[in-house]
Subunit: 572 residues, 2 copies
């Protein structure tokens, strides 16, 4: 029991020197990758650079306690940072203490929501962020993020609330581009794109093992950070207008509960829910993918609790919302991490960097960080997935396209809302109209099949309908409509038989619909029968008056139903 809430108790038992060595190696590589990323994503969220570092310490330690994935790396990620900027930007101006306070509160609220959902085992709700919606949202977010970072890469001001306005603003400000900044930014982008494609093969040719080469290639941003920092420092490019990270306060964050401001919390509730949902879906799919490779198991509801705890940890240590990052987790996995202890060691690495490395980052150009973001998010653009969705299902594509357009034109929150609502309505529309087949008997057998697909015999005066779905409130009235239409169309009908082999549940609404159907058919002189009702469904019906009020009978098989009806007619 306790170990299901604290998975640490399970994996810590087998912890030995070998595992420690593996985890430590992975932690060194992930730390090197995470330092520039945490600074960059703080920049993307509109926050001071140290907030990115803070969000990479406590959350990782907390996840080590509660997480069920052996290799997931949590921390700041691109999409959640964009969503933070969007939510907090509506409430305060970048750079103000209110902006920072709201970002911290957002982490805390997200954490509480995630944890509450985990305890209530509501993880399934995240399924309502369907794949097309997530795919469309991430693609649109990547475009928005890349566009936003161009400002730093080019050293120019870009305004605008949506993509179009930003493009126009960029066009207007083209003459204001800072050439030195742009040179650094573009050079870093080119270097990172090259490293992503060609560095690993080069390292392999130099004799490194495949996995080590792949992991090292992911640390290319560190090379760019060091190189550009040295260049700016050496040639005093700050004087040439190159924006640098500047002073980062040294020292670890002090744990503190943010003030509870009911108005602020209310305003942040919906954004927090969206960040939680998107973050959880990303986290769980990365964790599942990595766990399956080693036949490990993750517990989706416990992951909610772990991610929630990580965000609460971020909030009370002055950080912003965190989730499980895809690229970082893959690096952690490939570098050989065996347990969540690798995450705790990464946290120690970041803490050491926060204590001792920050002065060295003074001359780090913002353009370098922006360039690393752009290269990272462009890999999130998945045009192939969009094309495949179009080919596979037009209604799924509609949800995807709606999400992309909504996000690009109206921003992340409306984009997600459009996606979720449109896919939910499409789903409910589908579920509200279950397949109901008129069936007839296959000649020479006791089997009944759809009259539209098979050559079968229908007995005059008997309407037999097979319902291919459980009956509950979304489709209860549809059944009423279908039966009303069918008996209005055929005045000869004297008996209606509903065949229920595929009906697993009849809820109270559907029961009332069946009572209505029975009552109305009775008024029109028609008897209602049921056949092939499953055991658990029958048990429930027996608690009601339904069987007693039924105009006809409940038969074990459709064949028995028809036999009995013919016999009763012959007797009458």
């Amino acid at each position: 029991m306790l170990s299901s809430y604290l998975p640490l108790l399970k994996w810590a038992r087998g912890y030995d020197r070998n595992v420690l060595a593996a985890d430590a190696t992975a932690a060194v590589i992930v730390t090197a990758m995470l330092i520039p990323q945490s600074l960059a994503y703080a920049l993307l969220a509109g926050l001071p650079p140290e907030i990115g570092l803070y969000a990479s310490i406590a959350p990782l330690l907390v996840y080590t306690l509660f997480g069920t994935s052996m290799t997931l790396a949590v921390g700041p990620v691109a999409v959640a940072s964009l969503m933070t900027a969007s939510a907090v930007g509506e409430l305060a101006a970048v750079g103000t203490p209110e902006y920072l306070g709201a970002a911290i509160a957002l982490a805390l609220i997200s954490g509480l929501l995630l944890m509450a959902m985990g305890v209530a085992r509501l993880g399934f709700l995240s399924n309502f962020l369907s794949h097309p919606v997530i795919s469309g949202f991430i693609t649109a977010s990547a475009i928005l993020i890349a566009m936003g970072q161009l400002r730093h890469v080019l050293g120019v001001g870009i305004e605008g609330h949506n993509l179009l306005e930003q493009i126009i603003s960029l066009g207007r400000h083209l003459s204001g581009i800072n050439p030195v900044t742009a040179a650094i930014g573009v050079a870093v982008i080119l270097f990172l794109v090259w490293a992503r494609r060609a560095l690993a093969p080069v390292l392999i040719r130099m004799g490194l093992p495949d996995k080590a080469a792949g992991s090292l290639a992911r640390v290319a941003p560190v090379v760019a950070v060091i190189a550009t920092t040295l260049i700016v420092w050496q040639f005093d490019l700050g004087a040439a207008g190159v924006a640098v990270v500047g002073d980062i306060p040294r020292g670890l964050p002090r744990p503190a509960l943010p003030d509870f401001d009911p108005e602020l919390w209310t305003a942040l509730l919906l954004p927090a829910l969206m960040i939680s949902g998107v973050g959880y879906v990303e986290t769980i799919s990365v964790a599942q993918t990595l766990a399956a490779k080693r036949r490990e198991r993750i517990d989706p509801d416990q992951e909610l609790i772990a991610l929630g705890a990580a965000n609460i940890g971020s909030g009370i240590s002055g950080g912003f919302p965190v989730t499980g990052g895809f690229a970082r987790s893959v690096v952690n996995f490939d570098a050989g991490a065996r347990t969540p202890a690798a995450g705790a060691m990464t946290a120690i690495g970041i803490a050491l960097a926060t204590l001792f490395l920050t002065p060295a980052l003074y001359y780090l150009p913002k353009a370098t960080l922006a360039a690393t973001i752009i290269v990272a998010v462009l890999s999130l653009l998945d045009v192939g997935a969009i094309r495949r969705t179009w080919i596979y299902s037009k209604s799924d594509f509609a949800a995807l396209a709606g999400t992309i357009l909504g996000t690009l034109v109206f921003g992340v929150e409306i984009g997600i809302a459009v996606g979720v609502l449109s896919s939910l309505i499409l789903f409910l529309g589908r579920t509200a109209r279950p397949h109901i087949a008129v069936v007839g008997r296959v000649p020479g057998s006791e089997h009944y099949r759809n009259v539209k697909r098979h050559d079968v015999i229908a007995t005059p005066g008997i309407l037999s309908l097979r319902v291919d779905e459980s009956l509950y409130f979304p489709n209860a009235r549809f059944l009423e409509d279908q039966i009303n239409a069918a008996i209005a169309a055929d005045p000869a009908v004297r008996d209606v038989v509903l065949m229920f082999p595929a009906v697993n549940v009849i809820d109270a609404s559907a029961l009332e619909s069946l009572e209505q159907i029975n009552h109305r058919l009775g008024d029109a002189g028609i008897r209602l029968h049921l056949s092939e009702v499953k055991g658990p469904v029958m048990d429930r019906l027996n608690r009601t008056e339904f069987a007693a009020q039924l105009g006809g009978q409940i038969h074990l098989s459709q064949f028995a139903a028809e036999q009995a009806i013919m016999a009763s007619r012959a007797a009458a």
Copy 2:
């Protein structure tokens, strides 16, 4: 095509003198019933009495054009009037022009919403107001309405935003009761309760036919209206503090579009949606019940358009929201109405009353109207339905109880929201966890059955799962979790076969989940197979790379799958 939007074109063709006589008879009876009701429901909505009359003219004429039910009687009803009072009361004070304007705008907005939903064929959305939610909501509304009307019956002021506050307020004001008003009110209640139970049998004993007696008994409120009006006038009881209806402006309403006030319309959007939803559900269930008795057919989507048009008609003629009333429609039906023309004639009757009868209503005591409302709504309390729901399904009961409590404590809007959200979450929770059975072969056959229920043979190293539900985004990830758990539990598994005889749809999310499952199983050295995939599902899969990427094969039957796997193992 045109006649599906204007059903009038269909039924008007067979219109003759016999039908005319039947419709006219019904119209006379319904008019007599509707005059006091329309005044009473205006009182309940906090509106001047003539607004009730206006809402009983244009909407009925409009419904005659668009309605598909031959016998539905639209007009003001109790629950919609309460909802109007609740929505408008938040925006303006009773008796102000703003209050009246908001009520009129509410009718117009509801009408536009209903019509838009009808054109978009979104009628199925109303199914999400499940029976338990509607049942709980109507019961709670009846209690709130009855409590609110006590004020008029007792001639005393009662304040409070919820039931408890109102009861306390009533207790405090007991000494202020106006004895004459209370005498009239209580007498009318007793008379109406007696009439409801015993008048029809008395009339039958006096020689009237059953149906006529039933219809006449429903007109008992008219007797109460005439008697109490005469008494108040004769004994000048207005001077004794008996509140009377007073001056009602004579003359028909003039059609006018209400001013468009964006702020007001935004505030009314959600209440309008709720009134539309509840009103439509009431309307459609009355219409279905009556139509089935005569084997007539109604078109649920066209009914949305008709009810929408009726509300637009109400809004532009100065009325408030209308719906199909249960009691009134039954009277119309029993009195022999054959076509919607009966409604048009009722409208003419109410118009004549508005022109010529209003002076006679000056001395009508408000206590009489309130008493008719109380007796009418108490028949909506359905304790039996609540008990039956408790016995039948605890989760349905939870939705019902939540709706009642939410409505009584927080008011109608929150009550409905609680009900809809709780039943939706219960439904989504159910749908997100479909039944997935591990199957094995029935000895001596080629059939496969659930290993938990049958004595079957499972081949070592093969995990066969039957999925008893279509696969789409709400349950896609559940399948991933189940398979991950199953293979983590049994390290001997080398092949997984998913049996899809009950899978009617695989949406893009589920396809991606299947790809993930295949990919992860492949990483763990396990092959994924499918069996018994339905034709339309296979057609879609063939548009993708899925079959090519599949670790295993797609087999026609589960038996063939096992044979092929065994053969491939023997060959290896």
